[in-house]
Amino acid sequence: MPRPAMDPYETVLAPLLGAWLLLSAIAQLGPVADRLPEYQRRYDVLGLVPRYHFFAPRPGVHDYHLLVRTRPGGGTGAYGPWQEIGPRPRRRWWHVLWNPDRRARKQLFDLTTALTRNDARCEDPATPLSLPYLMVLQHVSRRVPAGRLVQFAVARSAGYRTGERPGLLFVSRDHRVT
């Protein structure tokens, strides 16, 4: 039986969905077309154009750790030892159904990978003004008594691959907590 002709709504919807699919396909070229991810970040503010290259082509194969140390605010005295803050993942059987803690780990992963991408030594004056830096700084500052100096670092470890040594990826500048 022949299908009826499309009404005006359907006539608009068909090319709209087609264009959406086309844009989705183009967006998948992100890993091989340098400027596409930047365009996507700038214009796709509602996140409707997907990126489907999950864990590929180069997946993260390390765990990231946020470390903090403090010292007295007068500038005298040495820093205390680095202390890790943030979630410590441990796989549980119920994660197949319920796993609320993965969001916090993903937040940390997104911020630390952004922080460590370009200026690991924190030498660029723009780095402390970047959003990932400010986010981590305000997060650690809330855990430190006012008047002390604080410094944070990002380290990575190889999880269950115990033969690989952990490494320090980024160390922040000193900041006085007010």
Binding site: R3, P4, M6, Y9, E10, L13, L16, L17, L21, S24, Q28, P31, V45, L46, G47, L48, P50, R51, Y52, H53, F54, F55, A56, P57, R58, P59, G60, V61, H62, D63, R88, P89, R90, R91, W93, H95, V96, W98, N99, P100, D101, R102, R103, A104, R105, K106, Q107, L108, F109, D110, L111, L131, L134, M135, Q138, H139, R142, G159, Y160, R161
Partner: protein, 273 residues
């Protein structure tokens, strides 16, 4: 083209309803997980709105920021997640007309506002569910058989694109072909599992072939649209098993619901062409 006679009872409306139920379960689960960890969104968290709003000038000082702030600052953002959870729960029950469109619209709008806020540890499952709900809303505001068919085709092609791209970038990656990417991921504490990690490290040859098999299976998933309808259960069962394994081993539980929600659309396309 004539429908596959054994499955003519599987209408576009039935398929859309199944998509909606599975996607709603995924959104409800994701929202409840966020509500279970409210401090991950407060002003001292790694998703602090006073800092996040600095990333775009319009958010910091403009009208957009003035509109967004009362909605997405802490603790209002928890209310937004609660509203999203309630709307998704409402979609689990069959409704029709304006009520149905309003519930879907609430899920879409709350999702859009939360995406504008950003910084919440979003993942690929959230992205796919956003697309599914937008498509469902487009079908609900003008519920005709043609609209339903268009949306089902769209969703089926989206999920095929997702598997194909994910697989293609793996089969062309040296680290996926030699198995080191798979070992690397599953030996992290964030996405791994201690017992599986030990086995992968102990059996590198088996890991290499497992990695190649996963990559190839993802790439070939779109063949479901060309294969005989009798093969459909095989493709969908393999896909579902893959996502359940990822949920159990990697903790990626919401991917099960997000991807499974598109399977009724795939089934519709396969069974009716």
């Amino acid at each position: 083209m004539t429908p596959h006679t054994a499955y003519t009872a599987y209408t576009a409306y039935t398929a859309l309803r199944l998509v909606e139920v599975l996607a709603s379960a995924g959104v409800l689960l994701g929202s409840l997980e966020r509500l279970a960890r409210p401090r991950a969104l407060d002003d001292a968290s790694l998703a602090s709105w006073p800092v996040l709003r600095l990333r775009r000038p319009g958010y910091a000082t403009g009208v957009t920021g003035a509109v967004l702030t009362p909605l997405v600052a802490y603790p209002a953002v928890l209310g937004l997640h609660g509203l999203r959870a309630a709307a998704a729960a409402g979609c689990l029950w069959p409704t029709a007309g304006p009520v149905h469109a309003a519930l879907l619209g609430l899920v879409v709008v709350t999702g859009a506002v939360l995406t504008l806020r950003g910084g919440q540890g979003g993942e690929g499952a959230d992205q796919l569910l956003r697309i599914v709900f937008c498509a469902l809303l487009l079908a609900a505001v003008h519920p005709t058989a043609t609209t339903a068919r268009l949306v089902l085709w769209f969703l089926a092609l989206q999920v095929c694109l997702a598997y194909f791209v994910s697989g293609l970038y793996k089969v062309t990656s040296r680290t996926w072909l030699d198995g080191s990417a798979l070992t690397g991921i599953l030996t992290t504490r964030a996405y791994g599992h201690p017992a599986v990690a030990a086995r992968l490290l102990a059996h590198p040859a088996a890991t290499r072939w497992l990695s190649r098999a996963v990559s190839l299976a993802e790439t070939l998933f779109p063949l479901v649209l060309l294969a005989p309808p009798a093969w459909l259960p095989l493709f969908l069962a393999a896909g579902l098993a893959f996502h359940v394994a990822c949920a159990a081993l990697m903790g990626l539980n919401c991917f099960v619901w997000a991807f499974a929600s598109a399977y009724p659309a795939v089934a519709y396309v396969v069974l009716t062409t």
